[in-house]
């Protein structure tokens, strides 16, 4: 989750609730709960907005994570072990279809007015605004300050693009491959990373594996054919979790409000399953090229765990309303499920101990992968 997005949401909720405080001294006939529906609408709007803003990342990260599996011929005999370092990233061209989010596709509510478009995550575009109005719970009419005629509203700047002008989802991951014999090989990838930030800890974990098997061995008697066909099944899952440090995240404490008791973790999970056929051709003892195709399915969940708790500190307000605490669970929650065809090509350079591989795949978007592979044990020889 983008840090700016978190700050945005926090100020979003705080500003609205400050409005509630502003009018509460006059609102003896009403309770904070009368306005809760409007806050809920803001929550739904924010959820739909964050899902749209992070869509390019969320919908492609899992696809890129499940690429970079090795092409080329598979060692025949059991016992071959190789270690690889695989890097991969989606490369998402930013164009007129994804440069901006069309706000009429977001959650609509009568207390929220937005500009027609707002920047997407990876663009250099700026601008985009949401104007929040406090409405009378009984009539749904906007409210003004009776003394000066100002609407009880706030302008919130929506998040600008981060300016890369190309969408990327980079990762680097170690991979261990073991030959099982009969030109069959399994590969495993695991990456546990924990990054400490001032705001909290980011845990990134990914694991998965693939199995590839030579189909062509069943149709040719050649000992070392130049043309081979492999089948690959692979599965990857990853989890990114942000655990905030103490009270720093999504929390505040002032004369009016505190978020005492808030504990929210942000998470982004993906799971992908993939089936591919590789058609490999060795054009030189040191160069092997291939084309591959198949299908991939991704499930991506952007969400949060825990409770966001808002408590009213002001004593007068506490007396004036029935209940002075609001609780929100499931602050962010969006899921993307996509099944896409996959196609691409690659080249394997080198022989024996060290190989380098460059791969291009189209799976929902462009994905580029590079890998360095070192044979630790050559069961083949």
């Amino acid at each position: 989750m983008n840090k700016k997005a978190i700050i945005f949401f926090c100020s979003f909720i705080a500003k609205v609730l400050l409005f509630l405080v502003a009018i509460q001294p006059m609102c003896k006939a009403q309770t904070l709960q009368d306005y809760e529906m409007q806050v809920r609408d803001l929550e739904r709007f924010a959820n739909s907005y964050f899902a749209a803003y992070t869509n390019l990342f969320s919908s492609n990260f899992g696809f890129s994570l499940n690429q970079g599996w090795q092409g080329g011929a598979i060692p025949k005999k059991a016992g071959h072990i190789s270690f690889s370092l695989v890097g991969s990233s989606s490369i998402i061209p930013i164009n007129d279809r994804n440069r901006y989010i069309l706000t009429n596709s977001l959650y609509q509510s009568s207390n929220i007015q937005t500009s027609p478009i707002t920047p997407g995550m990876f663009t250099d575009a700026k601008g985009g605004i949401a104007r929040l109005f406090l409405l009378d719970p009984a009539t749904n009419n906007r409210l003004v300050d009776p003394t000066n005629g100002e609407y009880l509203s706030a302008n919130v700047n929506l998040i600008d693009g981060i300016g890369t002008e190309v969408g990327v989802t980079p990762f680097l991951m170690p991979q261990l491959s073991v030959g099982l014999g009969k030109s069959t090989e399994i590969s495993l990838r695991v990456i546990p990373i924990a990054i400490g930030l001032n705001e909290g800890k980011v845990d990134i974990s990914a694991l998965g594996g693939g199995i590839r098997h030579s189909l062509s061995q069943w149709f040719t008697d050649a000992a070392d054919p130049d043309f081979t066909v492999n089948l690959l099944f692979s599965y990857m899952r990853n989890k990114v979790k942000f655990t905030p440090n103490g009270d720093k995240f999504l929390t505040f404490n002032n004369d009016y409000f505190s978020t005492e008791g808030t504990r929210v973790l942000l998470s982004h999970n993906t799971q992908t399953q993939q089936a591919l056929l590789f058609f490999n051709y060795r054009i030189h003892p040191f160069i092997e090229i291939y084309g591959h195709g198949g299908a991939i399915r991704q499930t991506s969940d952007l969400g949060s765990d825990g409770i966001f708790r808002l408590k009213i500190n002001d004593e007068f307000i506490q007396d004036a309303v029935d209940k002075s605490t609001l609780e929100y669970s499931d602050l962010f929650n969006s899921r993307i499920e996509i099944t896409k065809p996959v196609g691409g090509c690659g080249v394997v350079l080198g022989s024996g101990f060290l190989k380098a591989e460059v791969q291009y795949t189209y799976a929902n978007t462009h994905i580029a992968s590079v890998a360095l592979r070192a044979s630790i044990l050559s069961g083949d020889k």
């Binding site: 009018i23 509460q24 006059m26 609102c27 003896k28 006939a29 009403q30 890097g87 990233s89 490369i91 061209p93 930013i94 164009n95 007129d96 440069r99 901006y100 069309l102 009429n104 609509q108 009568s110 007015q113 937005t114 500009s115 027609p116 478009i117 663009t123 250099d124 575009a125 700026k126 601008g127 985009g128 605004i129 104007r131 109005f133 409405l135 009378d136 009984a138 009539t139 009419n141 906007r142 409210l143 003004v144 300050d145 009776p146 003394t147 000066n148 005629g149 009880l152 700047n157 002008e165 190309v166 990327v168 460059v358 462009h366 580029a368 992968s369 590079v370």
Partner: protein
């Protein structure tokens, strides 16, 4: 991979696509252009309210369109008026849902295309009373209009304007600002109005108070003035039935502090 990234960056960074200002092009159905009396597009709600800096429809062989150059952050407002006074003022949110939006970075243009005339016509349904309250005439772009209570009649149509129980109501002044549902209204009472206990909660010792207004009900004949957090009694006193409306007079039913029903005729403050 690095080379591919560089190539993408090179292609996409050649020109500035950040579009600090945008050309908003609203394409409207041709039928609309033939049937309506007035179409204008405004860059913001404030401009819509004052009627300043609006752009009109460009005549074309095909569907008419409006072009507005403004900052990306703006929310354009459409002002559509039929000859009978029916307008789009209170339905801006529904209007924005009907438009099909597309964006072109080449000329920083956002196109909003309204192709379904029937759906559009169905949304442009705000009561003509909105225009009567605010404008001096149908062709005025925007602004505000102040009204005075000219006469008050009781249920038997007797003139009770000078009766003590109606004096508080009689001295009220209303200034309605353009804007549809939730637009602003300023309510005034003269400093020398004496003790008007029925409106004490509204004015709180001052001579003016701001609120919002809307026309409610299926026939949009209930003029409701909304003030934050006031008693149900005052809410009732600030809810009027519009019996008759025009640019030069307004006839509404209301109650006084004694729960008596009356009919007030309001006239513009500058009425001669």
């Amino acid at each position: 991979m690095g080379a591919v990234l560089l190539a993408f960056c090179f292609v996409s960074c050649k020109k500035d696509k950040s579009c600090a200002t945008m050309n908003y092009t609203y394409s409207l159905p041709n039928d609309l252009n033939q049937e309506v009396d007035y179409i204008k597009l405004y860059a913001s709600e404030d401009d819509f309210a004052t009627g300043e800096r609006g752009v009109g429809a460009v005549d074309s062989m095909g569907a008419p369109y409006l072009i507005l150059n403004a900052q990306v952050q703006v929310t354009p407002f459409l002002d559509i008026r039929y000859a009978d006074g029916t307008n789009s003022w209170s339905n801006q949110a529904e209007l924005s849902q009907l438009g099909e939006t597309s964006f072109s970075s080449t000329n920083c243009e956002t196109k909003i295309n309204f192709s379904d005339y029937a759906a559009l016509k169905n949304v442009v349904r705000s009561s003509p009373v909105y225009m009567h309250l605010v404008l001096a005439e149908a062709s005025q772009d925007g602004g505000s209009k102040s009204w005075l209570v000219d006469k008050i009649y009781d249920e038997d149509e007797f003139d009770v304007s000078n009766r003590p129980e109606w004096q508080c109501v009689k001295q009220l002044g209303f200034t309605f600002f353009k804007g549809g549902k939730g637009a602003k209204v300023k309510i005034t009472i003269p400093p020398a109005a004496g003790i008007c206990t029925m409106y004490e909660e509204l004015f709180q010792g001052k001579t003016e108070a701001f609120a919002t207004y809307s026309l409610e009900g299926d026939d949009q004949q209930e003029l409701r003035i909304t003030v934050p957090a006031v008693s149900d009694r005052l809410k009732e006193q600030l809810t009027f039935s519009v019996i008759e409306s025009a640019y030069d007079h307004l006839r509404i039913s209301l109650t006084n502090g004694n729960a008596q029903v009356g009919y007030a005729v309001l006239i513009p403050a500058n009425h001669e």
